[in-house]
Symmetry: C2
């Protein structure tokens, strides 16, 4: 192995018979330095592949150009999409992204935060876990002068900018769409009561029903805890075996909706003709399954972009008390699973 020994400013200075500070300044084209000197130094640096020792620079400037990013789950279409947007944006601005996951466990999240802080990221992007009810581990960042930007799953226990999706409106539109398609008895498989997004979506669901004078029933609302396919499957079964069963189901997320679709398929209950189904998040597979699942797109990539831009801005301005809330609009994606229940089947979505 030919390990190139890295050349330093000192080497340049020695070889060129100038001082280290001149070399340093020449490389950054400091106005005080003579053009000739600049040219010479730059040429020499180029020739010998001089690269500033980033560790020294970081040390000197106390910053790393690394941003921390914590999500509940990495293997998750929405979050990986956000991460993708964050990484691409960070790269454009000369930052790296350090990724970690909380597995929706508070202690894991706390550890991740500690690690991030210890490895000295310049700021933090976080979507909190379901268990996160207070935010001491987050205020730690602020106290160290490192800005935090929250996205999607947020808490109000910490002052920070927040990038979220208008969950209320997204849910409202989804349910309104079901109503317009002629569904009369709309159920909701909702998320946890402690999670803001879930509550907002449930609120949107309820408001849409009220605004359109639709029948409502407590029996049509089921609380998902694990938010997975199985729950969708089981709750669907439960809903349909009760008396006065619903004829449409709005699910907290696509994964739950897939479970619903699975049950319906097994029972040979026609979608969308007997029952309409709509999800939330617009997972990739929503367009792959048959029937295509209608869903509410959350613009994950843009969320990652915007949150990252915001964080970089805060870092540059050394802002720590920003509380701006950036709310992205959702986008209703209509596919077969909610096609007008009266009409004949559509071909596609």
């Amino acid at each position: 192995m030919t390990e190139k020994k890295k050349i330093t400013l000192k080497d340049i200075a020695r070889e060129l018979g100038i001082s280290i500070s001149t070399a340093s300044r020449a490389l950054k084209e400091h106005p005080d330095i003579a053009d000739d000197t600049i040219k010479t130094v730059k040429a020499f640096a180029e020739k010998h592949h001089y690269v500033p020792n980033i560790l020294a620079v970081n040390f000197r400037k106390s910053r790393t150009y690394n941003l921390g990013l914590i999500v509940p789950e990495l293997v998750h279409h929405f979050f990986s999409t956000v991460i993708s947007g964050a990484i691409d944006t960070a790269k454009k601005h000369g930052y790296n992204i350090l990724v970690s996951q909380s597995n929706d466990i508070l202690s894991d999240e706390t550890v991740a935060c500690r690690t991030m802080l210890a490895s000295s990221v310049d700021g933090l992007l976080i979507s909190i876990s379901n268990e996160t009810l207070e935010a001491a581990h987050l205020t730690n960042f602020i106290e160290e002068g490192k800005p935090v930007v929250q996205f999607d799953k947020i808490t109000d226990h910490i002052q920070s900018p927040k990038v979220i999706v208008d969950d209320f409106e997204g849910a409202y539109q989804a349910v309104k769409h079901l109503i317009e398609q002629g569904y009369k008895k709309i159920a909701h498989l909702r998320g946890r009561r402690e999670v803001k997004n879930s509550n907002e979506r449930a609120r949107g669901y309820q408001q849409a029903l009220i605004d359109h004078n639709m029948e409502t029933s407590e029996n049509w609302i089921k609380d998902c805890m694990a938010i997975n396919e199985e729950e969708g499957y089981n709750f669907c079964k439960e809903l349909l075996s009760g008396d006065n069963p619903p004829d449409a189901i709005f699910c907290i997320t696509d994964l739950v909706a897939f479970g619903v679709l699975k049950y319906l398929k097994e029972e040979k209950i026609a979608v969308p003709h007997q029952i309409g189904v709509i999800g939330f998040s617009n997972w990739k597979l929503a367009e792959i399954v048959s029937p295509g699942l209608s869903s509410v797109d959350q613009h994950g990539y843009e969320m990652g972009e915007i949150a990252t831009l915001k964080l970089i801005e805060l870092i540059k301005n050394n802002e720590l008390d920003n509380q701006e809330v950036i709310e992205l609009k959702t986008n209703l994606i209509i596919r077969e699973s909610t096609a007008n229940k009266i009409e004949k089947p559509l071909t596609i979505g």
Copy 2:
């Protein structure tokens, strides 16, 4: 904002009337230091929330405890699973993971490598892009004394350990399974000719056919380029409209298989009774779709774990010439899409 000013070794030394080096040594319980001193220093440090300045430590030791990780695509079930394993493992060993994506574009990959190198990761985990045919950007790492570990999509142009899946064997088992289920004319939607994994899978496909004296046909092999659902859809159509159409299709990856399933569903061709379909990678949705898609599991999480462990080991031992190949066995996951074609239909399809 109450920005705590960070306390340093110097502060401890001054306050306690000892030297900086004693303070430093006491904190690491150096055997030379008196127990009393250690106790005093530790207590003081604790009380004042002393945290070593990681930037200074890194600078001093020329290492960051950060590992670079580059994949073609982040929003991809297999890769995000690998990343998940890598992150969890890294965390256990005190390392962070810096994630980047190449979008399967060589220039992006090169830039990502440069950035990683510039931000001074201690080592690199990489799954190369489809375009990567030589590896100058990778040997840069080795030249700087930073080990590289390749996984899944690899090149032999660089000496490094490689963690791969036995693509040949996985494909062989998949096709053997189809044969055992009674399928007679097995087609293969293969991947690109430049990509090693694709070739291995195609080789496994062919060998299985030969070993079992099965009919073969060049017309049953189609080259996917984009490796997406659409290609699956279109090639399936093409295969079935030719004369002597196949009665089973082995797909380079699940996504392509989903396209195949979509076409078959649209055409009301029964799966698995008229046609058997098997994928590769065992995406989450393989178990969600109906009929469930048989697939070959690649153990992504384990791959991430193992590659990361290997990299950490190389870093610790300062090994740069390791060429070990760690080959994981795949796991055939049988679902409805390949159920015996002779038996009566399952519940769904």
